[in-house]
Symmetry: C2
Subunit: 340 residues, 2 copies
Amino acid sequence: MTAMPTIRDVARLAGVSTSTVSLALGSGNRVSPETAGRVWAAAEQLGYQPNPLAQSLKRGHARMIGVIVGDISNPFFGRLLKGVERRALEAGFHVVVSDSDANATRELAVLQKLAAQRIGGIVLTPHGGGEDYAARLHGLQTPIVTVDHRVPGGRFDYVASDGCLAAAMLTEHLLNLGHRRLAQIAGRPDLWTAVERKRGFRMTLQAAGVEPDESLIVDGNYVDSVAYEQTMRLMTRPDRPTAILAANNMMALGALQAIQELGFSCPRDVSLAAIDDVPWSAVIRPTLTMVVQDVDRLARAATDFLLERMEDRGRQEVAPRDLILIPRLVLGTSTSQPPR
Amino acid sequence: MTAMPTIRDVARLAGVSTSTVSLALGSGNRVSPETAGRVWAAAEQLGYQPNPLAQSLKRGHARMIGVIVGDISNPFFGRLLKGVERRALEAGFHVVVSDSDANATRELAVLQKLAAQRIGGIVLTPHGGGEDYAARLHGLQTPIVTVDHRVPGGRFDYVASDGCLAAAMLTEHLLNLGHRRLAQIAGRPDLWTAVERKRGFRMTLQAAGVEPDESLIVDGNYVDSVAYEQTMRLMTRPDRPTAILAANNMMALGALQAIQELGFSCPRDVSLAAIDDVPWSAVIRPTLTMVVQDVDRLARAATDFLLERMEDRGRQEVAPRDLILIPRLVLGTSTSQPPR
DNA sequence: GTGAAAGCGCTAACAG
DNA sequence: CTGTTAGCGCTTTCAC
């Protein structure tokens, strides 16, 4: 039952006052070498570690950063979390994680709680929209870096891959293969990334002189089961598409499952391409043609932005920064020429 | 720049002392209804939220629990984390997450930091072994619940699925299909689960009168790339196995990839079965025969154990409890009769 | 260079 | 029932 030693124990053992201990242990060089030595020795001997709770109370905020994602069990966010955690730990911050279930209400509740915890800052994949959403985020008075989705009216740092470009790359690829009836299973229409990915799709088609068939652009809400249903619907139409572009990884898997269950063969009957990495793409047959993001870089950049912003704690109003990464095309066997 | 209101602001506005505010807001019923009403109204008006940092300092520990897993980006642990987070939040605890990279040294370092944070308790997938590992864990003076792997010499609550049974179920299944040359790609030999899964394998073979060929039991370290290599080695032997049992999900995918790259067909040339759920099993061809764990139940049980233990903070020495869940067999198309 | 003292915001005896 | 008081452990002026 060894109670953790406090600064007073160290002070007593070293024969100095608590303030001297604090000074000596802190980077400050305002103490004589010999006292500093005694203090360090005493601290060592006792195995003293400053109580972070007390430090936090004094400082006004905890050395923690929060990460709120839509779904922790999606490996994309798992990797993001992992990257953030690593970077944060290097900087001496712990990471508090929360799952918002991609639900703005839940997200705001969690955000509120974290802000009340006097957490240092938050990496957020925002799922809100509407009028006052951005205002409420700002009202938290906590540094926030947004990732993946952008908050329309908000002034936040933002880190993501170029979704418009990603969609354009895949669309271009499909066009080059000869496809003309292209479908997109899009994300949640209220989210920035979904809008961008649709834009890239339409833009590229039009640039190629192909008028997009709006009935082939359907909402999948970034959810695998919804994409499954939408694919079922698309593929049982008489004028079914010859290629499908899924706006994220989960939806690609949902779509692929639907295609296989209907007895179609991919890519013989229909080509499939996806935005975002699909885990274990190596063992999924066909291997997916996709556009992948550098998640580690994303995570690092987001964390760095946040740490910087936490430095000056809203002092000087640095303008919100954007970092848009260029995604990379990975060819798989899920895309080929359209059927005769 | 509205500084967060403190208890003193509420006290001032309600015309009472801070302790009365504390009492009124706390569940205690030791204040008169009218004062309580005034206090609540004042708190409401100011949007007062007690500062958790101060509460924690007073209490001696934070309302947080830590979760340390070997790899956050593995969906198995992602789901575990998600379950724990949900349960913890219900109980008013936030979750601090850390990734140990399945490395005992890193794990102990993180553990140390979390304990120093005066965190309430920890859900741990332990990766250590050896002499003093358990001792160091106990030395942390922090409630710990172990999940998945067991700490040999430790007195900790433990929650997991029955790994021996899981291996036995799959082995039995393969035997029934007619296989006699069975290989196992096992986990990290120093981890409890790996030992258990090997035991179930050997036991079942022997019970069926088949002497296990020890050269077919190879270590995959629970890592996909290692399993890939081991499968390459196994499948290029003249006396290659007709069935492979992978001791976890990642290794199953690694094995499957190797099988496919060698030009073998699964299950025609070799059957493959796995312990643990494989994400998106629905779109992986062949679909895997596997034994799955109820991760949500695991997560909930672990969190409940931890919360209970945190209640009496080491006071009365409750004996360490075990909860061993029964896994479930899911038949896929990756197993069939051995080739002629 | 070092120590005394105040205080971060809250809770919990202990008086009244 | 309510207020006074004393800390939780640390940092940080401000004197000496």
